[in-house]
Each structure stands twice: as structure tokens, then as C-alpha cells.
């Protein structure tokens, strides 16, 4: 009787699932790492709660962030999430490097623990680091670049964040309660079927990805409409900044590429929970369809990740070369072709499944075709530097390293696009090196460059350059050390996902790779030191004028930090790189003829509700606590229906007089500041007003 009761309350959850306790019984290094991670999550969470209470920050956090619909605040929350997950993902990567350095015939991790590590590492880095980072950056930058007050659907923006947080929360909870999937970030059945993995691991993966995927779909819809409908008057599509173009293409990809993964996860869930036979071994299931559906999503996903970084690079290369972006039209066409072509190559992720040569060749050639527009982009950035005045600032370090490393990744990509060669290096560390080579320089460097570039716009001071350089070069050096050896052992035939190996020839390379892991850790730490030092020294790097880099697009025509309403008066746009053109004409800082009241959308609880009850819903489903799942689902449904019945909440009105006062005060401050040449860009006298320096100079 009582056991039945507890079974209903706790589902299949029992004390055995709390494996952070096992280290006390079985203190091996493997268990200590496993439990240590769980304790880090528990204690980290507690520390955050204590700190927030101690400094009485719950109120401001709630008011200014959690219920806010301000796109900048939502963007910051996305990036904070990405930062937390980046720490976990990098540390997991470093532990894996350590294991393989020691993996000749053994090592210190159990096979199961290692499998969990590569599964969570991939899932986290793709879905909960990269996606939130780029979504956050798009959130922050796009409305500013197009001269909008906010996104088209502010409430849905908050809802997207809530769903993403719920997915991330489930992955974090899996460290403490039960275990994560061991099926990799792709979760191929039948390995992940209930037959082989009856435990909660694959369910953690499925619900995290499903929730985050729904959030991403909504984000995509939101930004397509925002970019197509909220642009300032005069900003035609062909006057949009490149970052906005890439954001548009990424948003379109989000709308169309997420459904396949929603379908594949939904089908796998039906297989696991209801005994369906979509992908099972027997009774007519077809696991090949899972690979097909997953990569129908997975390949466009790569471009969802990489296009915004391309956008960042396009912005910074023009700004730090003091020059117009070369080949705007070319870049737009290249971006769009990449977006469409990305839907035609998914089969190259499973060339080795047994389909015929015609099909493999067709998809192989389609894959190589993507190299053409991608190459054009790199050449366009080089042409932008040509006859420019290049300042090797921190974002430029990322850009230059990216260009060099990315073409090497592209080379390995062309190699992999050949089915006959892919047969040899598929599933080896060569492949692992390849996609890290695309994603670390191609995504992470771009995001970090964007973070450095736009940081002053949000917070009103620049990031410390010294620690920025240390971090950037450590990322570059660490990346090279970690992943170049993987190309080598991959060609030698070392498979991915192997906890140990017997071939002694692999070990020196794996040790080199582990050294790289240490350098990457330094890079990660330097980012946090940089943040600390920058906050400490913020008075020296104060950005008052709002234009610390002599930049070119609309977002730099605003004060730093940007007010909640973004623009005092929405500008009319008459040119590409409108702010640069206006500055050249001496019209960078104009007083508008009149000010008007500004309407801003009201707060919403939707994000918080979805984050909390989405997590609870997923947790209930994973542990078969049906009551919890049903209750949480009901709460979310009621929240949506309630909002539909009640209509939109009243927004906030900022009176014209207040806007005028703030804007005039800023214009006056800009007038008082001494314009700074690029010579002193990184010095204490740069307070965000740039001296005009764009006269043509012959050699």
C-alpha cells in the first residue's frame, strides 16, 4: 500500500539515482569526478541563492531580468546561460582530454562515465552553449541594428528563453539525479531504445532537446517577423547590416530546420514511452530514418550556428579596418545560398550506411558546393582588410585566427565530402577534429568577438584588452594543440568515443592534446578574469559617447548603455553603414526636431513559468512522476489560455519630456568629449566619441 503510494509520488526515482553520494562509498577518481560535478552544481546553485539573498538582489533580478521583455535583458540572460554551460562543456572536454592522454590500456574514467561525458559535452555545447550564445547576441544586436524599439513578439521572446532554460536545467539536473544518456549528442537508436537503455538517460536527452527546440522555433519566427517588419524607415533589405542579414537567414533556418528534430525526438519518445516502432530493431522499425531525420535538422543546424558568427565577422572586419565592407551584395548572396544549400547535404553525415554510389556522389558534390559561397565570404573579408587600416584589437585577433583556421577546417571538410575518403575517416577523431575546427573558430571565436565588440554598448564600459588578448590567443593556441593532433590520430584510424586504446602510437598525440586542454582552460579562466578586471576598472574605460570603435552601423548611434527604448527617436536610414556615412558628413549626432511618447511592452511572467514548469514537466516525464508532469503541463496551458483570455498586458509609456531630457543630456556630453583617434582606441581617453579619420590616403 505505502510502496504503491511512494511509487506514484516518485515514479521510478529512488535514492540509488542520487549518485553524487557514491563517492563516499567508492572513492575512486572516476567517482570523485562524477560526484564532484554533482556537488559543484548543488553548491553552485546554493551559492547563487545565498549571494542573491545576502545582497538583496532577488527584487532587482526579478524586476529587471526575469520578467523583463526588453530584448537586451533577454539577450544578456541567454549569454549568461551560455557562459555557465560553456564552463561545464569546456571542463568536460578537458577531462576527456585527460582521460585519453592516460587512455593507453586504461585511464582513470569508467567507460560509462566517459560515454556520459561525450554525450553531455556535445548536447551542451550545441544546444545550451552555442544556441543560447548566438540567440542572445541576435537578441541584443538585431533590434538595435535595424532601428527598432523591441522584437515583434516580446512575450514569446521571454517564452523562448524559458523553454531553453528548462532544457538546460534538465541537463544540469542529470548530473545530480540519475544519469544522462550515453548515446552521444545524436542519440542514435536502437542504442537509445528502451530495449537497450531502459533508464532515464536518453529521456533526459530527449526532453532537453525537445524543450529547447521548441524555444528555438519560436525564436526563429520572432526574428523573421522582427527583421521583416520592424526596420526603421528607409532601411531596405539591401541596406541592412550584414549581421542582421545573417540573423535573418539563421532565423529562417530555425523555423524550417527545427521541425525534423522535433519529429525525430517525438518519434523516439513514442518508441520509448508507448512501445511504438519507428526506429526499433523488430516489427518494422527503421533506425535509418532516425539518422535521416536527425541530420535533416543537424546539417542546417550547423549553419544556424555559424551564420551569425559570419555576421559578427562582417561587422568587425569593416569597423576595425576603418573601411566599408567589401562585396556586400556578394556576402548577401553567399549567405542566402549557404542557407538554402544547407538543406541539400544531410546525407553526408551517413555516407557509410550502404546507399548507392549515385546518391552518395550527389550529396558529396552538393556538400562541396557549399564551399564556394563560404570561400567567397572569407575572400570578401580579406578584400575588406585590403587598403584598410587594420587595428589588431581583440575581436580582430579572433577574426584573423578564424580565417586561417577555418580554411583548414574547410579543407578537412572537402576531404570528408568525398564519400570514398569519408569511408575511412568517418567516426574517427579526424571527424571530431573537423567539426571542432569549424565550430570553435567558426562559432565560438565569432561569439567571443561579438561579446567583446558589443559589450560597451550594453554596459557602458569597454572590456580589458590585456586579458582579452591573453584569452583570445590562449583560445587559438589551445585549439590548435587540442585538435590538430586529433587529425593525425584520426588518419591513423583512432575512433571517436573510445575511452581507452591499445595502440601506443596514439599516446604522444593525446598527451599533446591534453596540454592543449590546459591552455583552453587558461583561456576560459582569462575570460572571467577579464570580466572581473573590466568591472573593477570600469571608470577608465567608460564609454559615454556610445561609439568606442569608430563603428559603422546604427546601433552605435545610441548612448552606452543603451536606454530601454533604444532610440530616442527612430532614425530614417538612407544608406548602408548609415552611421559611418553620417559621421563622415559630420552628422553623426543630430538633435531630432521633436520627441514623442514611447510605448514599451509590459512585463511578462511567461518566461519564468515556462522555465520552472517546463523543467518540472520534463523531470516528471523522465522519472515517470505522471502527476508532476500533468500538473506542470496544466499550469503552462492555463498560463497560455489565461493570457489569451485576458489579452496583452498594458505596456509602459515613457513621456516625450523624459526622452528629450535624456537624449539632450547625452548629446551635450558627446559635445564635451574630445574625439579620439584610433591610435588611442584602447586607452583611457577613449570615451566613445571617434575622431573622423576616413580620408583617402595614397601610399
Amino acid at each position: 500500500m505505502t510502496t504503491d503510494f511512494w511509487r506514484i509520488v516518485f515514479g521510478r526515482l529512488d535514492l540509488g539515482a542520487l549518485d553524487f553520494l557514491t563517492a563516499f562509498r567508492d572513492p575512486t577518481l572516476n567517482e570523485i569526478i562524477l560526484s564532484g560535478a554533482a556537488w559543484a552544481v548543488i553548491l553552485g546553485g546554493l551559492a547563487a541563492v545565498v549571494a542573491l539573498s545576502r545582497y538583496r538582489l532577488w527584487g532587482p533580478l526579478w524586476q529587471n531580468y526575469l520578467v523583463s521583455v526588453d530584448h537586451k535583458r533577454i539577450g544578456i540572460m541567454y549569454i549568461v546561460l551560455a557562459g555557465i554551460m560553456l564552463v561545464r562543456g569546456v571542463l568536460e572536454g578537458v577531462v576527456m582530454r585527460g582521460q585519453q592522454a592516460d587512455g593507453l590500456g586504461g585511464g582513470f574514467l569508467s567507460a560509462n562515465h566517459y560515454a556520459q561525458l561525450f554525450s553531455t559535452h556535445g548536447t551542451i555545447m550545441i544546444f545550451f552553449m552555442a544556441m543560447p550564445f548566438l540567440t542572445g547576441l541576435i537578441n541584443i544586436v538585431v533590434p538595435l541594428q535595424i532601428g527598432a524599439r523591441d522584437v515583434s513578439f516580446p512575450m514569446l521572446n521571454s517564452a523562448s528563453l524559458g523553454l531553453t532554460v528548462a532544457g538546460a536545467a534538465l541537463v544540469m539536473i542529470s548530473l545530480v539525479v540519475g544519469q544522462f544518456s550515453t548515446g552521444g549528442w545524436t542519440a542514435y537508436p536502437p542504442y537509445t531504445d528502451s530495449l537497450f537503455q531502459p533508464g532515464p538517460g536518453p529521456d533526459y536527452w530527449l526532453w532537453s532537446v525537445l524543450l529547447a527546440g521548441l524555444g528555438t522555433t519560436i525564436t526563429g519566427i520572432n526574428f523573421v517577423v522582427t527583421i521583416l517588419r520592424e526596420r526603421a524607415p528607409g532601411m531596405t533589405l539591401m541596406k541592412m547590416p550584414m549581421f542582421t542579414w545573417t540573423a535573418l537567414c539563421t532565423a529562417i533556418l530555425m523555423v524550417f530546420a527545427l521541425p525534423p528534430v522535433t519529429v525525430s525526438t517525438a518519434m523516439l519518445l513514442l518508441d520509448r514511452y508507448a512501445g511504438f516502432h519507428f526506429f526499433t530493431n523488430a516489427l518494422g522499425g527503421n533506425m535509418m530514418n532516425y539518422a535521416n531525420l536527425f541530420w535533416l535538422f543537424g546539417h542546417p543546424e550547423v549553419y544556424i550556428l555559424i551564420l551569425p558568427a559570419f555576421g559578427v565577422y562582417s561587422e568587425i572586419v569593416a569597423t576595425y579596418s576603418g573601411k566599408r565592407l567589401y562585396g556586400y551584395g556578394s556576402l548577401v548572396v553567399a549567405t542566402m545560398s549557404i542557407a538554402v544549400l544547407s538543406f541539400t547535404v544531410w546525407l553526408h553525415h551517413f555516407f557509410t550506411m550502404g546507399q548507392d554510389a549515385d546518391m552518395n556522389a550527389a550529396f558529396g558534390i552538393a556538400t562541396m558546393l557549399i564551399g564556394v559561397p563560404t570561400g567567397v565570404k572569407v575572400y570578401d573579408w580579406m578584400a575588406t582588410m585590403y587598403r584598410g587600416r587594420v587595428r589588431m584589437t581583440v575581436p580582430m585577433v579572433y577574426l584573423v585566427s578564424f580565417m586561417v583556421l577555418f580554411v583548414l577546417g574547410g579543407l578537412s571538410g572537402i576531404i570528408l565530402a568525398n564519400p570514398s575518403i569519408d569511408f575511412q575517416v568517418h567516426n574517427t577523431l579526424f571527424l571530431v577534429a573537423h567539426f571542432h575546427n569549424m565550430l570553435i573558430p567558426g562559432l565560438l571565436f565569432g561569439m567571443l568577438a561579438g561579446y567583446t565588440y558589443w559589450f560597451p554598448k550594453l554596459f557602458g564600459f569597454r572590456l580589458n584588452d590585456r586579458w582579452g588578448y591573453i584569452s583570445a590567443w590562449s583560445w587559438v593556441a589551445g585549439f590548435v594543440l587540442v585538435f590538430f593532433p586529433m587529425y593525425v590520430v584520426g588518419l591513423m584510424g583512432m575512433t571517436r568515443r573510445t575511452v581507452a586504446y591499445t595502440n601506443p602510437a596514439y599516446q604522444p598525440w593525446m598527451i599533446l592534446s591534453a596540454v592543449g586542454g590546459v591552455v583552453v582552460t587558461v583561456a576560459l579562466l582569462s575570460l572571467f578574469v577579464q570580466l572581473y578586471v573590466s568591472i573593477r576598472d570600469r571608470e577608465f574605460t567608460r564609454d559615454i559617447g556610445g561609439d568606442p570603435w569608430d563603428a559603422r552601423t546604427l546601433e552605435w548611434a545610441t548612448p552606452s548603455p543603451v536606454p530601454a527604448y533604444n532610440f530616442a527617436v527612430i532614425p530614417h536610414v538612407h544608406a548602408r553603414e548609415a552611421f559611418a556615412v553620417a559621421k563622415e558628413a559630420g552628422l553623426g549626432y543630430q538633435a531630432p526636431p521633436a520627441y514623442a511618447d514611447i510605448h514599451l511592452p509590459g512585463d511578462t511572467w511567461m518566461g519564468v513559468i515556462l522555465a520552472v514548469f517546463g523543467t518540472a514537466f520534463g523531470f516528471g516525464m523522465i522519472w515517470y512522476m505522471w502527476w508532476l508532469a500533468a500538473l506542470s503541463f496544466a499550469v503552462m496551458a492555463v498560463a497560455f489560455i489565461g493570457r489569451a483570455l485576458r489579452g496583452d498586458r498594458a505596456g509602459v509609456v515613457i513621456p516625450a519630456a523624459q526622452v528629450a531630457a535624456e537624449h539632450r543630456a547625452w548629446l551635450a556630453a558627446v559635445g564635451r568629449l574630445a574625439p579620439v583617434t584610433r591610435e588611442h582606441e584602447q586607452d583611457g581617453i577613449n570615451h566613445g566619441v571617434a575622431a573622423p579619420e576616413t580620408r583617402e590616403v595614397a601610399a
Partner: protein
Amino acid sequence: MSAPQSSKLNAQGYRHDLRGYLTGFGLAVVLTVIPFAMVAMGDTLDRATVIGVVAVLGVVQLFVHLRYFLHVDFSPEEREKVYLLAFSALLLFLMAAGTIWVLVNMNTRMMGMG
């Protein structure tokens, strides 16, 4: 969605719009009844022909619905929507036809034994 100018125009507009819906409905009924009837006739018709007709009429009916119920046309205001539909149709084709192509190919190549 501006309010109609006068009740006379209003009545005219209403009749025009109503005719649109009824035309769409009529066409949809015809386009539904024909394939059902052909299938109902059973073995008297060639199977491939019936499948072809069902497919073609299904696509025609899709356009009827888009035109008369979803009011999609080629006017300038609707151009964006047409682009969206065309793009979606392209991706739908790539994914759905691609899935069938890939899996049929693989299924046949996984069968061969001996």
C-alpha cells in the same frame, strides 16, 4: 480591413466574398468526390492511373484552398506570402522527397542476401 464605405458597397463586397468561399467549397467538393469515386470503383480502373489522378487532384485542391480560403493570390500585398509559400514548398519537397528517396534506396540495398 477598413470599414466598408456604405451599406450598398458593403452588400456588394459581402456577396463577392461569399461567392469566393462558395466557389472554393464547390471546387473542393468536386475535387474530393472524383478521387473517392475512382477509388470506390475498385478494380475496374488501372491502379497507376487512379494513384496519378488522386495525386494531381490533391495538389489542385491544395491550390483551391490557398486561393479561396486562405486568400493567397499574386497581388503585390500578398507577394511576401507567396515567396514564403514557395520557399516552404521547396524545403518540404527537399525534405519529404529526400527522405523517401534516401530510405527507399537504403531499404532495397539492405535486403539483398546471398
